[in-house]
């Protein structure tokens, strides 16, 4: 297993956001995490990246316990994230934002290659290379956030709602790119409101409800599960 | 210390002359603190043998303790408390054997006009009661000689005086009176010297502090004139300077000669049979005594008679210390 989340709980002050979550992501997989607003998806992602300490449980990555590891070291280990709300650096140019993605790396030549790869995936970013990140459109920012997360050459990429706020055509596009990235060898843990797309792209998926995993299975299993259909796929 | 030793010298000499311990001196140490003085004062007035007081030495504690002495009717002569307002409280027991701070303004102005013979004078102050009070008197005394004015922040609250320095330089003044204290004055002097201004800085006794030379540097400080409503003890008459040195092993300090005189006024009163506080008070009110530092005659408010007021100029030397320069002529 590349990532093992073992029965973790997490508190925001007195509010308990995660009530013992366990999930696994295997090398080469796309795993989707779906659930209603406030279910705890983003919180799970933050826990994996180490932005928020967990109260109990354990997180293992590539066989190593990273439960108490500093967030920056987790990046070095191979975990990157495109956070909810994109979190781009508005005062930096597109190029600088992408270079920030490679902050932990010192291999200049390979970084150039990865830049080209990102620009290949998102030609729009190349056009906007010298433009401050804050002046990009929402969709462009989303591309930048995903591209930036790629720049650390992650083993595992956490994508928190990459389709949020995108036009339908762009949603299609971003999911194809996610699939492409995965096929190029990067494991992906994907959080999505757009359950339809997520489940059809994912090898496996988990359903989160108020801080607990209530269901798991392969993407197509859940896609055809009546309860999931009812709750998350918007088909009556 | 200066004051205590000056007064004690007078008592020792008196007892030696009369062959017995007929007068004793009782010392009360208030540490110059306004919160300590009243307690001591209350203790003091219960001692029925005390018929007069040399002191209190400082203005702050005088404000606190003098009302108590006044109620008890014990006459006092302060040799060194110079705050102007002390004589305006209507204390009938109060006497001041030196000039008050108010004499410094005219003194400084006279020095600038008559000794320095400056025709263009810049005047600034630190907006404190003391500093602005002095500067206002200097301004009105100098009249049309004033070439420019400014006001700085309170002492220690300003370090960059470039605007004031520029004004002084541009005004063409050859003398600069600063109403304020030693820190600002020292920095002003240093920055004036750095701007190549070669005139003389004149100030009140608030600048007479080693800190002035520290701030300005001895070189820049040298030549600065500070006024004092006092006379240097080293210029005291009679054999006082030698007697003091023999008795105490140190040179007589500021106000020690005045304290000596003040004590002698009491002792002379005792000789004249004035052995109660009441009699002593009326004796002092009409005294005309010639001592080592000055001649003493008091007005109805307890101040020295205006004709007897002495203001001295002291000058900073290259060693960073002040030395007596001259008594400032009255006009």
């Amino acid at each position: 297993m590349l990532l093992e989340i073992d029965n973790i709980t997490l508190l925001y002050g007195r509010i308990q956001a995660l009530h013992g979550i366990s999930l696994e992501v295997d090398q080469g997989e796309i795993v989707a995490l779906i659930g209603a607003n406030g279910a705890g998806k983003t919180t799970t992602m933050r826990a994996v990246s180490g932005l928020r300490p967990i109260a109990s449980g354990a997180i293992r990555f590539a066989g190593q316990d990273i439960t108490r590891m500093r967030p920056d070291l987790r990046v070095v280990r191979g975990i990157s994230q495109s956070p909810e709300g994109r979190g781009i650096f508005p005062g930096m140019t597109v190029l600088e934002n992408l270079e920030m993605g490679a902050y932990t790396r010192r291999d200049g030549a390979a970084i150039r290659q990865d830049l080209d790869r990102v620009f290949g995936l998102f030609p729009r970013l190349r056009e906007r290379m010298r433009q401050p990140g804050g002046t990009l459109s929402g969709g462009e920012q989303q591309m930048l956030a995903v591209g930036r997360a790629l720049m650390s050459r992650p083993k595992l990429m956490l994508l928190d709602e990459p389709s949020m706020g995108l036009a339908p055509m762009l949603i299609q596009q971003i999911f194809s790119i996610i699939t492409e990235i995965n096929q190029q060898g990067t494991t992906i843990l994907l959080v999505e409101q757009n359950a339809q797309q997520a489940l059809s792209r994912a090898h496996r998926a988990y359903v989160l409800e108020t801080g607990q995993i209530v269901k798991s299975g392969t993407g197509s299993e859940l896609l055809h599960d009546p309860a999931v259909k009812d709750a998350y796929l918007g088909v009556a | 210390m200066n004051i205590e030793q000056g007064a004690e010298l007078a008592v020792v000499q008196y007892n030696d002359k009369n062959g017995k311990d007929c007068v004793t001196i009782k010392k009360f140490d208030s540490q110059g603190k306004p919160d300590v003085a009243p307690g001591l004062a209350r203790q003091l007035v219960t001692d029925k043998k005390i018929i007069g007081i040399v002191g209190p030495p400082f203005s702050g504690e005088s404000e606190a303790a003098n009302p108590i002495f006044n109620d008890a009717g014990i006459p006092l002569i302060t040799p060194s408390a110079t705050r102007v307002s002390l004589s305006s409280h209507g204390w009938k027991v109060f006497h001041r054997a030196v000039a008050n701070d108010g004499a410094q303004g005219p003194g400084a102005a006279n020095y600038i006009k008559n000794v320095l013979k400056a025709t263009k004078v810049f005047v600034a102050d630190d907006q404190s009661a003391y500093g602005a009070g002095l500067a206002d008197v200097v301004k009105s005394t100098l009249g049309s000689l004033v070439a420019g004015t400014d006001k700085t922040d309170a002492d220690g609250k300003q370090t960059d005086f470039s605007a004031t320095v520029n004004k002084i330089v541009q005004s063409g003044a050859t003398a600069f009176f600063y109403g304020g204290y030693y820190q600002n004055a020292g920095l002003l002097r240093k920055q004036l010297t750095a701007a190549n201004w070669k005139g003389t800085l004149v100030a009140g006794d608030g600048v007479d502090d080693p800190g002035y030379a520290t701030a300005a540097g001895n070189d820049a400080a040298a030549g600065t004139i500070v006024t004092c409503p006092c006379s240097p003890a080293s210029k005291a008459g009679g054999s006082f300077v030698g007697d003091y040195k023999t008795k105490w092993g140190v040179d007589a300090g500021t106000y020690s000669d005045v304290a000596y005189d003040a004590m002698n006024i009491f002792l002379k009163g005792i000789d004249g049979g004035n052995t109660t506080p009441d009699k002593m008070l009326s004796y002092i009110n009409s005294v005309n005594y010639s001592g080592v530092a000055n001649t003493y005659k008091f007005t109805s408010t307890g101040e020295l008679d205006p004709s007897l007021i002495k203001v001295w100029a002291f000058k900073f030397g290259t060693d960073g210390k002040t030395a007596p320069d001259q008594e400032i002529p009255k006009s």
Binding site: L51, P83, T104, P132 | G211, T214
Partner: protein
């Protein structure tokens, strides 16, 4: 009101103001850097400056130099200036790091509210300055005259001294160096990342605590240089010297746009010059009044200061 005097003395007042303003600017950088990254007003920065000033003095004191010493030969002066700068930078940098480590980091670890940081900042400032007051008996310390002011340019009533040139040039060099560091190096980019979005910066692998330490260190470094300029220019130090200067420098930072490095430079220089103009026209006692009127005026139309917030444009 003396506008004629202002016109007449425009040259000397401007130069003197720029020299003083250069000190404000370097001092202001510390507030701006820390605010940019932590949204914290580090009130103890005035004592970071103070420690630098005393360090330089103590080093010169080792050579038995004081305010009454003669000015040494030029080579020796250059050596002493270097030593003084190094000592001041080390002392200020170390003070800044210790303040961050002892006063702020524990609060950050506990997610303390902003008010706790504010009180701690004021407390740290008071503790250091009062302790210095006790050690120095609250008296002033004189500074050796390493640089005797001498005119290098004379033009009418305008005299530019060697010291003024040194201060202004040194400040500009330091500013330029810092600006390059922040904008072109990897560490500088890390600082900007934390300023613009701390969580994202962590997701990029930036060690937040290291960046924060670095920012305090840089602010301390600038304050150390400012301290040496200050002691050379003013010629004395006292335990409370940082306080008043700190308020002005902080004002300069806000005027230029707190969080913005170039804003600190602009704000500092502008403040130094405006102070002098105001002192000439209205009297020295009004200079701070005018400065604050200017500040309020500027903030009314440009709420984030003259150049806005740049390190932290993030949170718009």
């Amino acid at each position: 009101m003396n506008f004629v005097g202002l016109l007449h003395s425009l040259g000397p007042l401007s130069i003197a103001g720029l020299a003083q303003g250069a000190i404000y600017a370097l001092f202001a950088l510390g507030y701006t850097l820390v605010y940019g990254v932590l949204r914290l007003i580090n009130f103890a920065h005035s004592e970071v400056f103070l420690m630098g000033a005393y360090a330089a003095l103590n080093v010169w004191g080792l050579f038995s130099l004081n305010q009454n010493s003669a000015t040494p030969a030029t080579v020796v002066v250059i050596g002493l200036l270097m030593l003084g700068l190094v000592a001041a930078i080390i002392a200020s940098g170390a003070t800044a790091l210790v303040v961050e480590l002892v006063a702020y980091r524990p609060l950050r670890r506990r997610n303390a509210p902003p008010l706790a940081f504010l009180i701690t900042a004021i407390g740290a400032s008071l503790v250091i300055s009062e302790a210095t007051g006790v050690f120095t008996h609250r008296s002033i310390t004189g500074v050796p005259p390493l640089i005797r002011p001498a005119d290098v340019v004379t033009f009418g009533n305008l005299h530019i001294t060697n010291l003024q040139v040194l201060i202004i040039v040194l400040a500009l060099v330091m500013m330029f160096g810092l600006d390059r560091f922040i904008n072109t190096t990897r560490l500088g980019r890390g600082i900007r990342a934390v300023a613009q979005n701390p969580d994202s910066a962590a997701l990029m692998g930036v060690n937040k605590n290291r960046v924060i330490s670095l920012v305090f260190l840089l602010g301390g470094l600038m304050a150390g240089v400012a301290a040496v300029m200050y002691v050379l220019k003013i010629g004395t130090v006292k335990f409370d010297a940082g306080f008043d200067l700190g308020i002005v420098a902080f004002t300069a930072a806000v005027l230029g746009g707190i969080g913005n490095l170039r804003g600190a430079l602009l704000g500092g220089l502008l403040l130094g010059v405006v102070e002098n103009y105001a002192a000439e026209v209205f009297g020295t006692e009004y200079r701070r009044v005018i400065v604050f009127v200017l500040l309020i005026g500027v903030l009314m139309f440009l709420p984030t200061g003259l150049l806005g917030e740049s390190l932290g444009k993030a949170r718009a």
